[in-house]
C-alpha cells in the first residue's frame, strides 16, 4: 500500500516564541484505502492536525503532502482531493438539504450535469431523499450529520477527514454513522482519517491508530500493537497509560476533608 498522506515534523505553534505547541513535529503516514484513527484527549491537537492537512490553517514548521500534493504549494489541489466533516460544522440552516448539497457541489466545481444526479444518489444513500426540500433547521442532529457527511462526499474525494463524527450523536444515530463510514471504506475504497476520543468507534472502524497528546504523536500502530506496547488489556487502558489518568483515591479525596458534606 502506498502512503497517501505523509507528514514530516509537521508543527503548528502559537503565541510569543511559539510556546504553545498545538501540533509538534508530527511524523505520520496514512496509506491509501486505509481507515486511520487519530486519538487524543480534548485539546491534544487532533482538530489542528486535520485543519493543517486540509489547508485551512498554515503550519509553522515541517512539511506534509496529501495525495501527492504539497500542503504549502498546492492548496487548491489538496482541497479538491479531500472531503471534510468538521467537528462543529456550520450548516446553512435556512437552506434545504438539496440546496445545501447543490451549493457545496458548486463550491467544489462539480459539473452541473453530474451534480443533480449525485445529490439525488447521496440523498437516497443517506435516507434523506423524502426530506430533500425541508430546511435544515428542522433536521435532527443525526440527520444534520448525515447531510454533512454527504456534503463531504459531494465531489467524490479519495480522502475523507472526519473530525469527531459521532461525538454529538445519540447511540442510534452514532451507530448509523458508524455503519456508513464502514461501508464507505469497504465498498467505495476511500481513505478515511478519523479524529475521535470515543474509543469504541475507533476500535471498530480503524485499521491503524495514532495517539496524540499535547501536540505530540506518542503512539502509532494497530490497536493490538498499541495494547501490547503499553502492556495493557484494552485500548482504554492503553490510552490512559499513554495520556495519563486520575487515581481513584484522588477522585474522592475531597470527601475526607472536614465539613465538605452537610
Amino acid at each position: 500500500m502506498k502512503p497517501i498522506i505523509r507528514t514530516a515534523k509537521l508543527s503548528k505553534h502559537y503565541g510569543k516564541g511559539g510556546e504553545i505547541k498545538a501540533v509538534d513535529e508530527l511524523d505520520l503516514e496514512v496509506n491509501e484505502g486505509e481507515t486511520f484513527g487519530l486519538l487524543g484527549p480534548n485539546g491534544a491537537g487532533k482538530t489542528t492536525t486535520v485543519r493543517l492537512l486540509n489547508c485551512i490553517i498554515k503550519p509553522t514548521g515541517g512539511s506534509a503532502d496529501v495525495y501527492g500534493y504539497d500542503i504549502f504549494k498546492n492548496e487548491t489541489d489538496v482541497k479538491r482531493v479531500t472531503g471534510l466533516l468538521a467537528e462543529s460544522p456550520g450548516l446553512y440552516e435556512k437552506l434545504s438539504a438539496y440546496e445545501f448539497l447543490e451549493f457545496m457541489g458548486a463550491l467544489y466545481d462539480v459539473p452541473k450535469t453530474i451534480l443533480t444526479e449525485r445529490i439525488e444518489d447521496l440523498l437516497k444513500l443517506f435516507g434523506l431523499h423524502q426530506r430533500r426540500d425541508h430546511l435544515l433547521e428542522g433536521y435532527s442532529r443525526g440527520m444534520k450529520q448525515r447531510i454533512l457527511i454527504a456534503s463531504a462526499l459531494i465531489h467524490d474525494p479519495p480522502i475523507l477527514f472526519l473530525d469527531e463524527p459521532t461525538s454529538m450523536l445519540d447511540p442510534r444515530a452514532a451507530h448509523m454513522v458508524k455503519d456508513l463510514i464502514k461501508s464507505l471504506s469497504d465498498t467505495a475504497g476511500k481513505t478515511i482519517f478519523i479524529c475521535s476520543h470515543i474509543l469504541p468507534i475507533v476500535e471498530e472502524l480503524c485499521d491503524r491508530i495514532g495517539i496524540i497528546n499535547q501536540g505530540r504523536l506518542i503512539a502509532l500502530g494497530t490497536i493490538d500493537e498499541i495494547i501490547a506496547q503499553t502492556q495493557s488489556k484494552t485500548l482504554e487502558d492503553a490510552f490512559i497509560a499513554l495520556t495519563g489518568g486520575v487515581e481513584e483515591k484522588e477522585l474522592l479525596a475531597w470527601r475526607e476533608q472536614r465539613g465538605a458534606s452537610t
Binding site: A86, G90, Y92, L95, M104
Partner: protein, 527 residues
Amino acid sequence: MPAPKWLIVAKNEYRIHTSSMRSLRRIFPYIAVGLLAVYVVFLAPAIFSYFFDDFTAFIITQAAAPTVQLVLFMLFFYFIIFPITNTLREEQTDQLEIFLAAPVKPSDVLLGEFLGVMPFYGIVVVVLAGSFTALLTPLGLDLAQIVITIAVFCLTFFSALWIGTVTAAILRSKLGKSARGKDIGKALAMIIALPLVAVMYALLGGGLLSTLTNPNISGIVRTVLNLIPSSWGAEVFVHFASNPGNILAVGWAPFLFFGGLSAFFLAVLFLGVKGANRAYSLETTSFTASRAKPDGVFYQVVRILGGSDSFGTLLVSLFKDYGRRLENLSKIIYMVGLLIVLNLFLIDPTNPEGGLVMMQFILPLLSVFIVGEVTLRGKGSLFIYKKAPSGVGRLVKARLLKGWLIVMPISLIAVVATAVTNPAGVLSFMLFSIGMLMSTVAASVAFVLGLFLLNPAFSDKSGNYMVNIMITMQVLPIGTFLVPMIIFRTILQLSLYDALLYFTVPFSWILGILILYLGKRRLSRIE
C-alpha cells in the same frame, strides 16, 4: 466552464435571505423592481411635491449644505454600522470552515457575501435615491444632473456597505472564535451606534446645525465633516440644486467631488478585496484565558449589603456574572452616553418639566438593560434557583437589589445633572422632582423585573424581549406619568407636585409590586 465562485456564494446568500419566502424566490426580484419603479416614478414625486415650496426656499439658505451633509453622513455611517452590528450580535465562525476547506478564494467569498445581500440593501438605496431625486427634480435638473445624483447615492451607500461588510467579516474572524471575543463583539455592537445617536440628537436639538452655519465657530466641525466622502456627495447635490438645468454652469467643483467619490469607492473596493484573507481565517488569535481575581472592595461592599451570609454570596455572584460580560457593561455605557447626549442637546435648561418628562421615558430602558437580562441565559439558569430551597424568592430578592444598586446611582446622577442645568431652578422644586423621579425609577426596576419573569425573553432577539421593551418604554411612562399629568393638571387643575405625589409615585409602586408578584408566581410555575 464552472460558474465564478463569487457568484455561487452570492446565490447561496440570496437563497439564505429568501428562505422565508421560498415560493416567491423566483418572482421576488420582479415584484421588488416593479414596486420600486412605481415608488420612484409615481409615489415619490407625488409625496415630495407637497414639500417642494419649503424645499426650494430651504435649498438656497446657508443651512442647506450642512443639513444635506449631516443627513448623508448619518445615512453613510448607518450603512457602515448596519452589517457590523448584525454580524457582531450573532457571530458565527462555524461556516468559515466550509469555505476554507473548499477551493475558493477569500476575496470570492467576501464579494459573494456582499453581492448576495445587495438586492436587499439595494431596495433601501433605491428608495432613498428615489426620494432625494423626487425632491430635486422639480427644481429643473437636467438629465445629466439626475443621472449623476443617482450615481452619487449609489457610490456613497455602496461604499459604506462595502466598508461595513469587510469590517464585519474581519471582526467576525478575529472575535468569533472565543467566548470572550463574542462578548467583545456584542459590546461593540451596542456602543458603535452611539456616535450616530449623538449626531442625530445634536441635529434634532438644533445645536449642531446652528454651529455649522455660524462661520465664526464652525471651522473644525466643518473641516472634519468635509473630509467624509458622504459630504462630497452633498456638495454635488447642493451645487446642482443651486444651478438646475445647466450642468456646465456649476463649474468644476461638483465634478471634482463626484470624481473623488468614485475614486473612494474604487479604493475601498480594492482594499477590501486585498484584505479578504484577514477576514477569512481560523487561525487562533489569542490563548489568554480570563481569570477571576480575588474579591475587591466593591464586591466586599456588595456582600455586606446582601447581609454577609449566603444571600450576600448570592448577590455577589450575580454582580460578578453580570459585570464580567462586556455586553452588559456596554449597555450601561450606552445608557450613560445617551443620558449625556440628551442633557447636552435635547433637554432645554429653561424647561425643567420637559427634562423630567424625558427622563420618565428614558430611565426605564436602563432598568430593562440591568434587570431585563434575568431570563436571557435560558431556562437552565432559572431552574438552578427553582431547584434550590426558597430559590425563587431569593432570585427575585437578589435581582431586585442588584437592579437598584446599579440603576439608582446612575439615574440619580442623570437626574441631578438635568436639574442643576436649570438656571432659574428653585431648590425645593429640584429636590422634590429628584425625589419623585428616583422613587418612580425604583418602582420601575420592580416592574421590569416582574415583567420579564411574567413574559420571559430567552433571547434579546425574541419577540417577547421587544414586547417587554415596548411596554416598559411606552405603556409604563404613559400610564403612570403622562396620563395622570393630563388628568390631574388639565382637568383637576392640580399642580405638578400634587400630580406626582398623589398619583404617579403611588401608582408606579402599586404597579411595580403587583407585576413583580405575578412574575414571581409565573417563575414558580415555569417549565
